[in-house]
Amino acid sequence: MLDLASVVSDVRRGLIPAHVYADPEIFEAERDRLFARSWVFLAHESEIPDPGDYVVRRVLADSFIVARDEAGVVRVMFNMCLHRGMQVCRAELGNASHFRCPYHAWTYRNDGRLTGLPFHQEAYGGEDGFARAGQALLPAPSMDTHNGLIFISLDPGAPALRDYLGDFAFYLDFYTRQSPAGVELRGPQRWRVAANWKIGAENFAGDSYHTPHTHASVVDIGLFREPKASQRIKGALYQAGPGAGTTYKLPPGGNGHSGFADQLRYVGYPDAMIPGMAATWSDRQRALVADSGFMVSAATLFPNLSFVHNWPQIDAAGTVVPFISLRQWQPVSERETEVLSWFAVDAAAPEDFKRQSYQAYLMCFGTSGMFEQDDVENWVSITDMAAGSMARRLKLNSRMGLTSEGKPVKPPLASFAGPGVAYHGFGEYGQRHWLSQWSDHLSGGAR
């Protein structure tokens, strides 16, 4: 019998009972207490640019149609026919004005409204027997967007998305708002891995410590110059709102705007893109890059959306090109995760840059990415080890950066321009920040 209070109490102290990474009872609690109320990412508006465009996405076992209706409004609808429960739309994406259930041909507009009901008069006696008017596919209980990112919550009383994002919205802009045109997403690549969903989410929230070793091969072959331990330890780790992430410290640039441009050039942004970032980001966002000298790398927005921004060399001449990826750790079971990995790029970027940035993404992340390959090997192995009896006797130490009294080993960075709290060097601050939210949900009631 699971003692959830004891698990949560250990996790809050930075001691993680290892079985949480392969425990069906924990998974059930996550489904009922966490995913039943948290904001969860589904899609980006650029994936459905035109009226009628749709993608089908899930939150755990629940399938949703994310569609742009004829009026251009984004709708998120539970993909289950009101009549007998058939999955109404069985494609992953496409363009449709209507969705017709294959079973009895009940038909819905792409805004969800029931419009076609065969033999309505003869079989049901018309509106009197079954009121068709006002019937619609169940809408997502809460739906909201930010920078074109479409989130839903299964909780009808969820806070406004912007309130939820809080200080993390500041960091989200680096990945999803590099110009007024916003970002466009391509993909996702989808694959299933025999790993618990939490491991990837925690890793991206702050594990700069794994980079020098797990990803040593990428340094060995000269693909990415930064992840050496000597370089990675200079970065800052921040925790802000429901998110946390890692950064790299860049070499000093010039002062003011020229410094800002120097840093962006260093990671490979072409001059054509720099005005977009200069105009779109706030003084404080620009200061994080120019004055503090930090460039965002990995991050996780609780619970299961992660981000990465790296700048590998994409050719033999040593051309450095940055790329952005969004990735979701979609729980399938306590031991299986579907990874969805998108390539993201500023919609206003030059076509040449988009092409090169896509090359950079493919080499580093996603199904074939040279970084991701080694990450997933770790996560599968942890999950495998966590499934047995001995894992119930082991508490994994996630206290890096804390003294035995629970105080930070070193004070937060004073000169960090971003909101939230940031620390210099290695430490499991971001993972504990993520786990603290996980604990809040699991110690709350079920929905």
């Binding site: 299933r192 060995d220 896509y358 080694d374 997933v376």
Partner: protein
């Protein structure tokens, strides 16, 4: 330009193309990546689109602008180089893989070039506790006739799943990863690395050539 019908099985061009695929697989099964790279044209394009489930009338079943691979020679060389380092954990210990190449059809293209379609089944087994992966795909290759024989100028892989059931594509759809120790020197430093020093063993076990030993030292020699 493309002939509507495949060459007959007795056609010397078909036999040469079929043999190319089988010999290529043999090279890779022997972990001879350097040899494999020599089979590639300088301008090779190696692509594997993401397949998606769409309505029959949609007119497409791959994602626009996103693949699992979209590589030139530089990227392919980097991938080979990476697997040859001592830090490619995802394939150390290596998977046991076998590539089954079948249903070979050859079409004559412009000049002496050949377009070859084949079916591929990849079996991949990792470790001793996990279920094995199967990956089924079709391939369309462009083989270019050169003075040195046929060279692979383009490969398009049409995978038959939209959600891949394998942890990554570290093993390409045409090669297997190394199945033994790559060099005798690797074996000797590994042998010297006792299991007792395994956890966090980078310094006590540091091998002569600056290798580290996390993966291998966990096994008894």
């Amino acid at each position: 330009m493309t002939a509507a019908r495949p060459l007959t099985y007795g056609d010397p061009a078909h036999l040469a193309a079929h043999q190319f695929l089988v010999e290529e697989a043999a090279l890779l099964d022997a972990a001879d990546y350097a040899g494999w790279l020599e089979l590639l044209a300088e301008d090779i394009r190696y692509v594997m689109p993401v397949r998606v489930t769409t309505a029959r009338g949609a007119g497409f079943d791959t994602l626009a602008g996103m693949g699992h691979f979209d590589e030139g020679l530089y990227a392919l060389r980097k991938r080979v180089q990476r697997l040859a380092t001592d830090h490619a954990w995802t394939e150390d210990p290596p998977s046991r893989t076998r590539h089954f190449v079948t249903n070979v059809r050859t079409f004559r293209e412009a000049g002496e070039d050949l377009r070859v379609e084949s079916a591929l089944l990849l079996f991949r087994s990792r470790g001793d506790t996990r279920e094995a992966d199967l990956l089924s795909a079709g391939r369309t290759d462009l083989l270019r006739a050169t003075a040195d024989g046929l060279r692979l100028a383009r490969r398009e892989i049409t995978v038959d799943e939209s959600v891949l059931r394998t942890q990554n594509l570290a093993v390409f759809l045409l090669w297997r990863t190394r199945s033994g120790w790559p060099t005798s020197s690797a074996r000797s430093w590994w042998s010297a690395c006792r299991p007792a020093t395994a956890p966090g063993c980078a310094s006590p076990c540091r091998p002569p050539a600056g290798r580290s030993c996390s993966a291998r030292s966990n096994s008894r020699p």
